[in-house]
């Protein structure tokens, strides 16, 4: 009898409806990650490198192909909709950013696979930039044994695939819980990858621990914010939250006490913001960037700097534009402040940096500020501009860090700026390419950086944020100083006698750098098609 009433009281849980086709780009990458783990367990050590690189590239290629197919089939425009019971949005921004992330990941995997830069191990095997055995204590016998026998941490590839999978989901997540899960899915592998440097392992591990601790801290904020917003809206789904905020939807009676409590909503929103601003590296949540960028293996730094920023800004756009447009009056002034602080602090602190990787880290902070101006625009131009900027910026970043891996001396990469003096005389081509990337960072016309900056500033100006644009232009001027200083150093200083050499990379890194340079020039000289594409993809589904 009681059993029967219970059964009547609890409605049956319906099986969730999953649109596998729309989710297939992510599934392909996660699939590749799982296959990679199996390969790690079953494939003999000497075949692992080739197998893992193959699996990773195949997974990414499949994912990119599926993204193109979905976009072609109209899922970016007319058929854009929510999938998986409203948890994932398959629309223009999702597909555009997922496309960018997979391309970035392809280039990153090429760099991870580079094995010609490090001297060969004792056993004569070619080795990559990662620790031979990550679990061995730095400086221990175990480490030396692993190094001489030519072991390699091929787990980097499945880790990368998990990270990429999380990043694909992050900008597409359409409810807070999915977003949080995606955040963790891509963050955890990144923490590990940061610790894998072959040289200066203590620095690398320190960076990983810092990143992990601070990342956990920021995740806690995000999670707390999530709970508070749920308390207000009774839902974690963005569209539902927006409707509750606007007052066009009612919530479950169970939450009647808390619903409508604006303090919950506002504090929750601010805390969610903290979590996302940490990931994009905005001031004052940027402190981890220089340390982590410097300590992590340089190919990982490039991947992280490019792809994380793309994913996190995508998520930020969706959160602010879909869930909280009704609170624009509350969050825009706050973001104004953050953007100004970020642009100014990033540019100013970079002026006195002496390490290339730290310099690029602060430059990425400043760029986070520039992109924020596009987010603040709160119009469709703003979305298009941010999408374009992210695509442009990520390839410049990848290229720049790839160049850093090539300038080496006996201790590995020579990242101290003084050692780059006169590089233009010794390796004019490499220095010229790096100069191109720096000019793109500085936003000089005919490079992608200019087009991107122009687009976000224009969107911000039309969105009524003119003072922000002025601050942006002024900090660009400050930033130009340190970019140009590096160019001057490379081309107009005399080379040092004991200066670093420029390693000749294999086709892998060569492709990465060339791709970065080509994208930088094409998006600078003939950006019309891509601007159009970004604008077309700028409709967020709700």
């Amino acid at each position: 009898m009681t059993g029967m009433t219970l059964a009547a009281a609890i409605p049956p849980i319906p099986a969730p409806h999953i649109e596998y086709l729309q989710l297939s780009p992510m599934l392909a990458v996660f699939g590749a990650a799982l296959v990679g783990i199996l390969a790690e367990a079953f494939v003999p050590r000497r075949h692992r490198y080739a197998t893992q690189v193959g699996i990773a590239l195949a997974g990414l290629a499949a994912s990119f192909g599926l993204i193109l197919y979905l976009a072609q089939a109209g899922y970016a425009t007319t058929k854009a909709d929510l999938a998986a019971m409203g948890a994932v949005a398959v629309d223009g921004p999702s597909l555009f950013l997922q496309g960018v992330i997979t391309l970035v990941a392809v280039v990153a995997v090429l760099q991870f696979a580079e094995r010609r830069l490090e001297p060969r191990s004792g056993a004569g095997a070619a080795v990559d930039a990662f620790a031979p055995e990550a679990a061995a204590v730095p400086g221990s016998d175990a480490e030396r044994r692993a190094a001489t026998s030519g072991h390699a941490t091929t787990e980097i590839y499945p880790l990368t695939m998990f990270a990429v999978g999380g990043m694909l989901l992050f900008p597409a997540a359409s409810d807070l819980l999915t977003m949080f899960v995606a955040l963790e899915v891509f963050s955890l592998p990144l923490y590990l990858m940061c610790a894998l440097a072959r040289r200066r392992r203590l620095l690398s591990q320190e960076a990983a621990v810092k990143y992990f601790l601070l990342g956990a801290f920021s995740s806690a904020f995000f999670l707390f914010g999530l709970a508070l917003v749920y308390g207000y809206a009774g839902s974690v789904q963005f569209g539902q939250i927006a409707r509750v905020v606007e007052g066009t939807a009612t919530v479950t009676p169970a939450l009647a006490n808390t619903t409508g409590n604006d303090a919950l909503l506002l504090i929750g929103l601010a805390m969610l913001g903290v979590g996302l601003l940490f990931k994009v590296g905005a001031v004052p949540f940027h402190m981890w960037t220089p340390d982590v960028y410097q300590g992590a293996p340089t190919p990982v730094t490039g991947f992280m700097a490019a792809a994380t920023k793309v994913a996190a800004f995508g998520a930020m756009l969706r959160l602010l534009y879909v869930a909280f447009p009704g609170l624009a009056w509350d969050w825009r002034p706050v973001l104004w402040g953050v953007a100004i602080l970020t642009m100014v602090a990033g540019a100013v602190i970079a002026v006195t940096q002496t390490d290339v990787k730290r310099l690029l880290a602060y430059s990425s902070v400043a760029h986070a500020g520039f992109i924020l101006t596009g987010v603040i625009a709160l119009n469709q131009h703003g979305i298009g501009a941010v999408l374009f900027y992210l695509a442009a910026y990520s390839f410049v970043t990848l290229g720049a860090f790839a160049v850093v891996t090539l300038v080496r001396d006996a201790d590995g990469e020579a990242t101290h700026l003084s050692r780059w003096a006169g590089l233009g005389r010794r390796s004019p081509l490499l220095a010229a390419v790096f100069a191109l990337f720096l000019l793109a960072f500085a936003g000089i016309p005919l490079t992608s950086g200019f087009t991107g900056k122009f687009a976000v500033f224009q969107a911000a100006a039309s969105g009524g944020a003119m003072p922000l644009v002025i601050v942006g232009v002024l900090s660009s001027a400050v930033a130009a100083f340190f970019y140009i200083r590096v160019i001057v150093l490379m081309f107009f200083s005399d080379p040092r006698a004991d200066g670093p050499t420029v390693a000749v990379p294999s086709a892998l890194t060569g492709t990465a750098i060339a791709l970065g340079a080509v994208v930088t020039v094409v998006l600078g000289v003939a950006p019309e098609y891509f601007l159009h594409l970004a604008n077309q993809a700028s409709l967020l589904v709700r």
Binding site: M287, D330, S462
Partner: protein, 632 residues
């Protein structure tokens, strides 16, 4: 077929990229590759030309929009090409004469160790010049305009080991900069007035702009033309530009680039037609320069500088014609084309003479060369007859038309302009006869060069001879061909517009007049240089001669007014800057640097303090969000 237009530009651009980036691997074939690509571009030009001829007159102009460089609201920077009769004429001239000069350079630069780079620069020049004449908007035209300036700078200073060449290159660059500022201001004025850079809408809406704006745009365009085309007052660089290799002087500083100013004025006819003040300024500039250049040409003993003076003067004719409005545009361009033939031929002849005379340029050390260089003598002689306007040859048709149009301008102005043009024709006959006599006639006055080598004048190789012969044919025939049935007028008038001028003098009277002054100029020159031996050391000469030898004191003028004036101004500004501005700038730099250093200390590496700052940041963020609501 018609989407071949970008290929025209792309082919030489590819050549420049290959030759300049290709490295030593291409040293052995670089010159052949560069020449081949120039001819390929000419071939494409010819194909487009015949395709254009096959269409009805109103179908002839074609547009090819490539892409939008910066597509944002309110500012569209387009990259597109426009090929109409005017640009077609230039395309054929540039690629045709350009290819011949590439061919000639194979012989002329055979022993130069930087030969590959030379051909790379020549290709770069072709690409930039084609971009200039094919652009369908002023912004893209500006790109080509700066591109030819760059190529010109690189080629004048090609032998930069000579300090004189390096200086000349800098001088050309700086003087051109003044003109370029004019063009950029004109382009900006157009954008603020019409909201676009494209030719078609700008010309269509020109009549709606105020008179002051149109005059301003016209004068700024004229300033640009003065810089690029070496017109008074920005003429001083052309003589020094002769420091470049002779093929460069022939291509860039005689046939094509220096005529870009005439192209600019003709292209902007819709604006000039509505701005009488700018037109008046244009004819004054043209008339002054045509006399100015001619007088300089009379006094120079350096064969290339004499020809440079002549170039200045002939472009003066073109600018004068362009300033006359619809009665003159067609003839300006016609003279430009015929001049392209005969002046390039004359320069190549001069190069051939120098080639045989151990690079001697002083005509007082030539003499009697006609026996030693028959081919050069004949081709140079035909170019000479063409430029002085000998009946039946090219210059006769094109120059007489300009003189007639000048008279047809009407009123006192017309008489003044016509007389200037007529006097110019006499002086032209004089200085060109002088060049001819001093070089090819009279007794030999050769002297050993600095190393004691005796010159052994000899004919140049065929690779140099063939271009000279082809250009000589052009010098003889082009004018006649253009004039049969007014074919050139009919060809070009749909673009530039054409009105029959009403000259107070009939065509017969003008022709008779020019014949008289022609005989007069040749006669006087023969009396001075043909009948008497030419002294090896120049005589002191009159005050005017001495001034003309110093380029009519143009450098002295620039020095006193601009250089001294400028340095006084800068000294004053430096004083001001030291007192005020410098402190401000240094202060900002110190502020940024100091702040940077101080803020950097916050980044101490301890994760606990990072977490604290994050916590603080989160608190502030939450507080401000709440505060915003409270305030609102």
């Amino acid at each position: 077929m018609d989407n071949l237009i970008p290929v025209l530009v792309a082919v030489p651009l590819l050549g420049a990229a290959l030759l300049l980036c290709g490295g030593r691997r291409l040293d052995r074939v670089g010159h052949l590759l560069g020449t081949l690509l120039a001819f390929a571009s000419f071939g494409v030009g010819l194909a487009l030309f015949f395709s254009m001829l096959g269409r009805a007159t109103d179908q002839r102009p074609i547009h090819d929009h490539l892409f939008t460089w910066i597509p944002v609201n309110g500012f569209q920077a387009e990259v597109g090409f426009q090929l109409d009769q005017l640009s077609m004429t230039f395309v054929l001239l540039i690629t045709g004469v350009g290819s011949l000069i590439h061919l000639y350079s194979i012989g002329y630069m055979a022993h130069d160790e930087k030969r590959r780079r030379f051909f790379g620069y020549l290709n770069l020049f072709l690409a930039a010049m084609l971009l200039l004449v094919l652009a369908d908007n002023y912004l893209l035209l500006y790109v080509g305009w700066e591109g030819v300036g760059l190529a010109s700078y690189l080629l004048i200073g090609f032998w930069q080991h000579k300090p004189s060449a390096a200086t000349a290159a800098k001088k050309a660059f700086l003087v051109n900069r003044v003109g370029d500022v004019g063009l950029s201001i004109a382009v900006m004025l157009m954008f603020t007035t019409f909201g676009t850079f494209a030719f078609t809408p700008v010309f269509a809406h020109a009549s709606q702009a105020t008179q002051a704006t149109l005059t301003g745009i016209g004068l700024m365009l004229l300033l640009a033309a003065c810089g690029k085309s070496a017109q008074v007052p920005l003429q001083s660089w052309l003589g020094d530009a002769m420091e470049g290799p002779t093929p460069v002087s022939a291509l860039i500083h005689a046939a094509t680039m220096v005529t870009a100013g005439v192209y600019l004025i003709t292209r902007s006819s819709a604006i000039f037609n509505l701005a009488p003040t700018a037109q008046l300024a244009t004819v004054v500039v043209g008339a002054v320069t045509l006399l100015f250049g001619a007088i300089i040409g009379c006094a120079k003993d350096d064969i290339k500088k004499a020809l440079a003076g002549s170039t200045m003067s002939q472009i003066g004719y073109m600018v004068l014609a362009a300033g006359l409005g619809p009665i003159g545009y067609v003839f300006a361009i016609m003279h430009l084309v015929t001049h392209g033939f005969f002046k390039a031929g004359l320069f190549l002849g001069a190069g051939s003479v120098m080639h045989g005379m151990n690079d001697e340029v002083d005509m007082r050390k030539y003499g009697g060369l006609r026996k030693y260089m028959p081919l050069t003598f004949v081709t140079f002689g035909l170019g000479y007859l063409a430029i002085i306007g000998f009946p039946g040859l090219s210059g006769f048709f094109s120059k007489d038309k300009i003189i007639e149009a000048a008279f047809a301008h009407g009123g006192t102005e017309g008489w003044i302009l016509g007389t200037c043009a007529m006097v110019g024709a006499a002086v032209t006959a004089f200085y060109m006869t002088r060049v001819m006599l001093m070089t090819f006639f009279g007794e030999r006055r050769w002297v050993d060069d600095a190393e004691g080598n005796q010159p052994h004048p000899h004919e140049s190789p065929a690779v140099m001879g063939i271009p000279m012969v082809i250009l000589a044919f052009g010098s003889v025939l082009a004018g006649g061909l253009f004039s049969i049935n007014s074919s050139f007028v009919n060809w070009l008038s749909p673009v530039t517009g054409y009105e029959e001028g009403h000259s107070p003098l009939s065509t017969t009277e003008v022709t008779t007049g020019t014949m008289v002054v022609l005989v007069l100029g040749v006669g006087v020159a023969w009396l001075m240089y043909g009948r008497r031996p030419v002294p090896a050391v120049p005589p002191l000469g009159s005050l005017l001669t001495r001034a003309a030898r110093r380029d009519l004191l143009q450098d002295d003028f620039n020095h006193v007014v601009l250089v001294s004036g400028g340095s006084h101004l800068t000294r004053f500004l430096v004083y001001l800057e030291g007192r005020g501005l410098d402190g401000l700038v240094n202060g900002i730099a110190a502020l940024v640097g100091g702040t940077s250093g101080r803020v950097r200390r916050v980044q101490n590496g301890y994760v606990r303090s990072y977490a604290l700052s994050m916590f603080g940041g989160a608190l502030v963020l939450v507080a401000t969000t709440l505060l915003m609501r409270a305030v609102a």
